[in-house]
């Protein structure tokens, strides 16, 4: 077949294919970009131009409704603001952190491991979690007679440094001799949650790098008395610096027995 002949039989394909594609595009533009937004906008009291701009995504808002207004007064439970810089610097331990940490030794131990089990261990804790709590003590979002004063004495940089310092310290050794026989229902709560109560698995937030909310602390290697006290505080609304009631709503569904067993589980079981 000659090239000219080839072109001859090919031409109608090219022409028709282009016509069909362009007409479908035109159809979509006429209906999607013009008719639908104009008609919907008119019913909602929007002028045609606004409706079209909203439909195409140049202006925010729906082409079919008036946007509701909000005169919200901010009532945040915490003053912590996240930023990528903050997250990054919390991952970098500096010598300045060790210096600030001297102020913590009396209650939290020389290496961030508390002698008194009423106090939390800080060694190996998530830096983001320590930062969040210190920030909340400083702003008063979390209340503690000693910690509020100490945190108010720290500036923003020092809080970051000390958080990064403890995050990089080695965690407390577990003492398996204090472990009770672990109940199956507690393990289930930790690993699977309880669908009937809408309880997610504890591990979905508190497991190591579980991908949960960024400020969640790790619980393993923590002191059982401290853990139990905090769970009770969340349940009774005595502690309310958890963002969007994440922990209050969970703790409210736990029984006394579960709180004690969970605290012991995390304090003594080497699995997470």
């Amino acid at each position: 077949m000659k090239p000219a002949e080839l072109r001859e039989i090919d031409r109608p394909w090219r022409i028709w294919a282009s016509i069909i594609i362009v007409s479908i595009l035109a159809f979509s533009v006429v209906f999607g970009f013009l008719i639908l937004p104009i008609v919907q906008g008119r019913a909602a009291g929007l002028d045609a131009f606004t409706a079209i701009c909203r439909a195409v995504g140049i202006l925010p808002g729906s082409p079919a409704v008036r946007q509701p207004t909000s005169e919200a007064k901010a009532q945040p439970t915490t003053q912590v603001a996240w930023s990528t810089d903050l997250i990054r610097s919390l991952g970098q331990s500096t010598p300045a952190g060790a210096e600030v940490a001297q102020a913590c030794v009396a209650c939290h131990g020389e290496r961030g491991i508390a002698a008194d089990p009423q106090n939390p261990n800080l060694a190996g804790q998530s830096g983001v979690a320590i930062y969040k709590q210190l920030h909340d003590y400083k702003s008063g979002s979390r209340v503690h007679e000693v910690m509020n004063g100490i945190a108010q004495g720290l500036d923003g940089r020092q809080i970051i440094d000390v958080a990064a310092h403890f995050a990089a310290s080695p965690r407390r050794d577990l003492d398996p001799t204090t472990a009770e026989v672990v109940d199956e229902d507690i393990v289930r709560l930790v690993e699977r949650g309880d669908p009937a109560r809408g309880l997610p698995a504890c591990n979905s937030c508190h497991g190591f790098n579980a991908g949960g909310p960024m400020e969640t602390p790790t619980l393993s290697h923590q002191n059982r008395e401290y853990l139990a006290r905090q769970l009770h505080a969340f349940r009774s609304d005595g502690r309310r610096n958890d963002i969007y009631t994440r922990m209050r709503s969970v703790a409210a569904k736990l029984t006394d027995r579960e709180i004690d067993k969970l605290a012991n589980f995390y304090a003594t079981t080497l699995s997470y």
């Binding site: 919907q40 729906s62 079919a64 409704v65």
Partner: protein
């Protein structure tokens, strides 16, 4: 190793027919084809369209406006 293309493929020029289809028989059936295919396709696509409109009218629209 010698290559062995499938001898009955349409692209082979000239095409060799060894799929045991008799030309006379093929000519005979091609007088009726595609009446059966049209019947079957119309039936299935008609049912498909019907099913879509049933879902549209009796499930989707009653569930109310959103947007």
């Amino acid at each position: 190793m010698a290559l062995a293309p499938h001898p009955n493929y349409s692209a082979q020029v000239p095409p060799r027919v060894d799929d045991a289809v008799d030309d006379v028989a093929l000519e005979r059936v091609m007088r009726e084809v595609p009446s059966g295919a049209l019947a079957l396709s119309l039936l299935t696509v008609g049912l498909l369209l019907l099913a879509w409109f049933l879902m549209y009218a009796f499930v989707f629209l009653p569930r109310g406006m959103v947007g």
